[in-house]
Amino acid sequence: MILVFVEHIDFQPKKSSLEALNFANSLSTIDSGEVKAIYLGTRELSINLGVFGVKEVYHIDCEHNCGSDQIAAVLSDAIGKLSPKYFMLSHSSLGKTIAGQIAVKSGMGLISGAVGVVKEEKVKFRKTVFSGKAYAYYGFNENGGIVTVVPNSISAESSSNELAQYSTLNLTIPQSQIRSVEKKLVKGKTPLAEATIVVSAGRGMKDPSNWGMIDELADLLGATTACSRPVADVGWRPHHEHVGQTGIAIRPNVYIAIGISGAIQHLAGVNNSRNIIVINKDPEAPFFKAADYGICGDLFEVVPKLNEAIRKAKSV
C-alpha cells in the first residue's frame, strides 16, 4: 500500500499534494499496492480523492493548525498503524520539515526530491542533483520507504470517477514545542515553487520603477513574478521573489527571463523549467545557451510590444 500525506488549505487539497497522489499512482503501476491518502482535519476535503485513484482516505482529527513537530509525530504513528510500503508527500516547505523526522521515527529510508520513478531491476526514483546539473537514480535497500515529490514534476489532473472511503484514524496528537506567531503571505499569487508560468527580471531593468511592464506581462499570462539575485540584494524586489542557487529553485512549465544574463548560480535554480524564453540585448548572454526561445533586443522595446501583442491575441 502507498500512503500519501495530503496538505490542504481550508480543506482544499494543495496542488503539490495532488501531484504526489498522481506520482503514487505511477508508482502503483510498477510496484504493488493501492494508493491511500491521509490528512489532518475535522472535516472532509473539498475534493473526494477517489478521482485521484485513492481507495481510502484517513483523517486524523485535530481542531487547529498543528505544528510541524506534531504532524511528524502523528504521521509516524499512522505509519506504525497502517504499515504502508511507501509513504509519500510533497517536497513542500512542510514536507521538507517533516520527512526526515518521519524517516527516523518510522525507521523507513528516505528519498527526498523525486521527480520521476522507473522500474529497472528494482524501483528507482529519479531526482535532480548538483543543483540541476545531473540526475541520480535512487533506490531503497529495504522494501519501500518515504519519498518526497518535487512540485511541478507531474500533472495535478484527476483521472478517475471513483469515490474513496473516508475513515477516521484515532491517534493522540502530542504537545507542540513550536509556536506559530503569524504567517505573512503574499496575497493572490500562486507561490513561486508551485507556479506553472513565471516571469522573471534582472539587472537589465535598470531601475525598480520600470517593473510595471513585468507585472503587466505576468498578469496577462497569469504568471508569478520572480527576480535574479542582484536585484533582490539591492532591494529593488522583495527577497521572496529571488530564484536561483541561494533563492528558490523552481521548475515551471514556462520561465520567461528578462534582462537576466544567466549566471550559473541563477541557472542552478531555474534550469529544470520545461520551456525557457530569454529576452536580453546582449547576444553573448550565457542564458541563450540554456534557452528554448530567445529574443536578442532591448527589453524596454520588446516587453511593451509583447504585452500589446498578447493583449491583442487574447481579445480575438
Binding site: 528507482k124 514545542q177 520551456n275
Partner: protein, 246 residues
C-alpha cells in the same frame, strides 16, 4: 551558549559535473570542493554572531574523510572555536545523521545549525533527521533568528511568504539566505586556525537505507530558437500554439 554547526563538503557551484563511463562515479579531477555555502554563509556566521553577543563556543562537525580537513580549517579560520570530524565516508544521509547525532549527544548544545540543503544532493533531509534523533524541535528554512534568553523567534520560508515561529532552546535549525552575511576569513583567522583543535572521532556502526545506482547528465538543449525582435507576433504564436499559455 554552546552552538554546533554541521558542515558538509560539496563541489563548487561553477564546477563542471561529469561522470565516469558507468555513470556511477563523479569525476572529481578538476572539481573544486568547498564548504556547502548554506552551512558556511548562513549557519556558521549566524552561530558566530550569537557567540559574539552572548558568549560561549561555536563547534563545527563534519562526517567525512581526511580529504575534508581543508573545509574544516576554513570554518576555524572564519571563527569556529573547535572542529570535529567523524572519520567516515557516509553511506547515505541517515548514516550522516546518525554520526552527527552520536557526536552531538556527547556535548550539551543549545542550538544545532546546518544549511537548508547541500548544493550537491539538494535533499534538505539532514536537519529533520538530526532533530528527530536528538529528540529536539526542528525549524527549517529559517532566514532570520533572534534570541531572547532561552526563547528564539524565527522567520521561516514557506510557500508564498514567511511564517514567524517561536521555540525554546535547545533546537535544530536549517539556515537559508538572509540569516547572516558571508564572512571572508582574514589572515589572523587563517593563522589562528592552525592552532585550533581539529579532533577526529571514530564513527559508529550504521546500516545503509538508500543508494544511488547511477547518475545521468540532462539532455543537452537543442539550440535556442531565436526570434527577431521586430517579429514579436512569432513569440505570441509560440506562447499560444506551442506552449498553450495564452
Amino acid at each position: 551558549m554552546n552552538l554546533l554547526v554541521c558542515i558538509s563538503k560539496t563541489p563548487d557551484t561553477t564546477s563542471k559535473i561529469s561522470f565516469d563511463a558507468t555513470g556511477t562515479r563523479l569525476i572529481e579531477e578538476g572539481v573544486q570542493f568547498i564548504m556547502n555555502p548554506y552551512d558556511e554563509w548562513y549557519a556558521l556566521v549566524r552561530a558566530l554572531e550569537l557567540k559574539e553577543k552572548f558568549g560561549g563556543q561555536v563547534h563545527v562537525v563534519h562526517v567525512g574523510t581526511s580529504n575534508s580537513e581543508m573545509i574544516m580549517r576554513k570554518a576555524l579560520a572564519i571563527g569556529a572555536d573547535a572542529a570535529f570530524r567523524v572519520d567516515k565516508e557516509p553511506l547515505d544521509s541517515m548514516d550522516t545523521a546518525n554520526q552527527l547525532a552520536a557526536f552531538a549527544k556527547t556535548k550539551n548544545y543549545d542550538i544545532v545549525f546546518l544549511g537548508k540543503e547541500t548544493i550537491d544532493h539538494n535533499g534538505s533531509e539532514m536537519g529533520a533527521m538530526l532533530a528527530a534523533l536528538l529528540n529536539l524541535p526542528f525549524i527549517s528554512y529559517a532566514n532570520h533568528l533572534e534570541l531572547d534568553g532561552t526563547k528564539a523567534t524565527l522567520d521561516v520560508e514557506i510557500e508564498g511568504g514567511i511564517e514567524v515561529l517561536e521555540v525554546n532552546v535547545p533546537f535544530v535549525i536549517s539556515a537559508a539566505k538572509g540569516m547572516a552575511e558571508q564572512r571572508i576569513p582574514n589572515m589572523k583567522g587563517i593563522m589562528d586556525a592552525k592552532k585550533k583543535p581539529l579532533e577526529v572521532i571514530e564513527a559508529i556502526p550504521s546500516i545503509q537505507k538508500v543508494g544511488i545506482s547511477r547518475f545521468e547528465q540532462p539532455p543537452v538543449k537543442t539550440s535556442v530558437r531565436m526570434i527577431d525582435p521586430s517579429n514579436i507576433d512569432e513569440l505570441v504564436t509560440v506562447l499560444k500554439e506551442d506552449l498553450k499559455i495564452i
